[in-house]
Amino acid sequence: MPGFFKEHLRPLAGSAGLHLALLAILAGAALHWTSSQPPVELAIEGYVVDSAPPDRPATKSQRVEPSPKPQGDSVPPPEPAAEEATQRRAQEAAAAGRAAREQREADQRAERAAAERRRAAEDAEAQRRAEETEARRQAAENDAQRQAAEREAKRKAEAEEVRRKAEAAAEAERDAALQRRLAAEEEAGAAVSAGVMDEYRRMLAQTIERSWIRPLSARAGLQCTLLVTQAPGGTVMDVTLGACNGDAAVRESITNAVYRASPLPAPRDPRAFERRLEIVFKPTE
């Protein structure tokens, strides 16, 4: 599970326990060195510069070690009577230090063992979950594939039916149009119908839109005009950039869109053909 909470809380919960244990140890040890060492909180809140080279395993010396601090040189030489007391204190300190160290090592061993068990258990759990997820995913995928195949087959059949009907309708429409055109052409000098012009414009626009690879910088608000000259067969002869508020990426992309679309489609009625086109690129979003 990718949840960040879990990811962070899992290792952290363990470490929090460890941290508490460490604090407890340090609290015990602190009896001996609180006066000569800064408090634990301060020590780890400070700015610690670690000069270990990055390619080497990081040092593990961050933990504050409660090593007994040697008496400083600045302490005046002890009086003979006081010397015994000093030695006794030193011995007591050493004994206490040993005990604390042993205790600490025992705690650390126990903590490590516990951490390893915890980690093994978590790992097994994670593995089990991953396998479950994978199995579920696989099952869902198989199911989805089967359904997709069925949907695709149905879609194909429907599309085929639609296409057949559309073809029949188009055929009928072509016949009717031919009849109409023949009738119209009987009247000398008849103009190309508005419907034919609209259709030609639409065919040209669709062809160019399919060829225009929009660059990232082509946003809404863009408006660029191209003046295009085509030969009678639809071959693009020349593309000239008019007014354009786009960058170089836009200018190159729209110019190439027209060249890529060459040869441009021919109109149903040859009389609708225009040698010169004014093409305005203005994306809606």
Partner: protein, 420 residues
Amino acid sequence: MLLMAAASEAQLRLDITQGVRDAVPIAIVPFGGQAEGATTEVASVVANDLRISGRFAPLERRDIVAQPTSGAEIRFEDWRLLRADFIVVGRVEPDASGLAVSFELHNVRTGARLLSGRLPTTQGGLRSTSHRVADLVFEKLTGLPGAFSTRIAYVAVDGRPPAQRYRLIVADADGYSPRTVADSTEPLMSPAWSPDGRSLAYVSFEGKASAIYVQRLASGERVRVSARAGINGAPAWSPDGGQLALTLSRDGNLDIYTLDLASQTLTRVTTDDAIDTEAEWARDGASLYFTSDRAGSAQIYRVALDGARRAERVTFTNSYNARPRLSPDGKELAMVTLDRGGYRIAVMELASRNLRVLTTSTQDDSPSFAPNGAMLIYASRERGRGALAAVSADGAFHQRLSSDQGDVRDPAWSPFPPRG
């Protein structure tokens, strides 16, 4: 005048309101001065960069029949037949400083030269110079700066518990030249790039408890900036690089804090009883986005850093939205969302709150925008192992970054390198 005349003569006017999102076909001709199979072939690096971006479809090497190395040698009709829209040619030459890479970009359809340049380099610097060429070509043809000279940081995990090894790795954006910058037997996580790209902040458990380090990449020098009782997690840099937002549990439960790096001043930002984590700074540095489960499940909130610090909820679409990461222009927020039963990467436009789910697998995590905003890198799962993947910001192009480094996770894309 000429334009007016032409315009008035044109009799058919068309409006183009849409285009397609195909990859642009482009020929990257092998550079002169380089034997085939050279250690770093400029043309291969450039072609691979452009291919990874998803915006370009470089011609296959076997389809490149002629080998012009300058604009004058290009026979454009050949390349039109190969249906390339653009062509890059160039050569590697000895130079006073070592080597120089000359290159030109031409429009195959019009023959126009769009770009030419000469970049001094060395044998060792040839790969990064190639990325520069790809950056410039990308920018000229898409209108956005290329991000091929940037880097990615991620964590690789080898071995099985209890003998695991965690490495924090910095590699080129194309995955090449990986370099281990930190290495530990305890978990490393959540790398975050400083705004100048020179340092990484990250979480390390190397002392058996979590701590946050800031490491200079050039020198390797490291500073432990937070090792407070409990959890120290999810560092995020302020836009000016002077502060880190952190997740700490020192006051009981997880809350967001800011830490001034110079003065070490710690400021608590959230006080809710819920889990507040994964901070991300707004581009103006005046507010933080973060994840919180205060409403019962993880959602993203925003809190202003001055005044009453009242958090406002930002996400409402799905039952789980976490790990907010802002786009470079600050207008979009990438996140992990629970979408139809899977944890997926999504991008929300902040103004409209419109959410686009970009990925289709079920365990995606840790989205991070490329500094040009065109792509995101994220962590995914592949056959039970962590893997890195990238997706274009519109969700159209998907890439997997293959890795021989075991289990990889926690990717973070660097900012643009400082120029000069």
